[in-house]
């Protein structure tokens, strides 16, 4: 997984399929890096994601919890339509202050 750090902003470029099987290793990588840097803004870029089920929503929820625990915020950007649809239906936006972009074919 590619990552870019710029000041206190960290961006992870997620790719491939996010399901229960793959989520654990993605989570591990993100948490190891964010634990070191404690970013103010954690950006998850979904442009390379080809499939996502509710495990992806769980992944975002968990990262949101971690980053907001030390006052940071989370952005989920460039969501392809198949990610956008499930993120929207989860109602995550209502309980978490997450900026979401994407959703267009």
């Amino acid at each position: 997984m590619e990552m870019i750090t710029s000041g206190k902003c960290m961006t992870f470029f997620l790719s491939g399929e996010i399901d229960h099987h793959n989520a654990a290793s993605i989570r591990k990588v993100i948490d190891e890096e964010t634990d070191k840097l404690m970013p103010q803004v954690l950006v998850l870029d979904f442009s390379g994601v080809t499939f996502m089920d509710s495990s992806g929503v769980g992944l975002v929820m968990g990262r949101y919890r971690n980053v907001s625990a030390h006052g940071g915020r989370l952005e989920a950007v460039n969501l392809p339509p198949w990610c956008y649809k499930i993120m929207k239906m989860s109602g995550l936006e209502k309980i978490a202050r997450i900026r979401m972009t994407g959703g267009k074919q």
């Binding site: 399929e17 399901d19 229960h20 099987h21 989520a23 989570r27 499939f51 996502m52 089920d53 509710s54 495990s55 929503v57 769980g58 992944l59 929820m61 968990g62 339509p81 198949w82 649809k85 499930i86 239906m89 989860s90 109602g91």
Partner: protein, 147 residues
């Protein structure tokens, strides 16, 4: 109502098979010439059902997951995902969005996603015997979507 095609398969409740199961299901549904969105909906719903079997039905080991699916002239895609695992004590509770018996990083959205991404969801479960989830999805397909 007689199906125009059907398949059955049995596989281990290993998480590596989540991708395999949704690939088979979507490959079969592709015979109805679905749109990309309809295919994604099927993949997602099947992934949720299979993940439930792996995470909840057989929490301490590997068991069998049984899938049978059929397609019909009307454009209906019907798939059953069944296990012989521990069963669900309270199906209505399990279906509530954001409820997960396991907590942690499980979003608790499995059944809510199946319900919203398909046209019909039915769940039959017996404690100690297992669970059977049936999903119906009507494929309108590319032919209709293009019009």
């Amino acid at each position: 109502m007689k199906p125009i095609n059907r398949f059955t398969m049995t596989f281990d409740s290993r998480s590596a098979n989540e991708g395999f199961a949704r690939l088979v299901a979507s490959g079969f549904a592709a015979l109805l010439d679905p749109t990309v969105e309809e295919l994604c909906d099927i993949k997602t719903a099947v992934s949720e059902a299979v993940t439930n079997c792996i995470v909840h039905a057989y929490p301490d080991g590997v068991g069998n997951i049984y899938i049978s699916a059929a397609i019909y002239e009307s454009g209906l895609f019907k798939i059953k995902i069944r296990d012989r695992g521990c069963g669900i004590e309270d199906v209505e509770k399990a279906k509530e969005p954001l409820y997960s018996s396991l907590g942690g990083e499980r979003a608790g959205l499995g059944f809510a996603v199946m319900e919203s991404f398909c046209d019909k969801l039915s769940v039959r479960s017996t404690l100690g015997k297992g669970t059977c989830v049936t999903l119906d999805k009507y494929i309108k397909g590319k032919a209709l979507a293009d019009r």
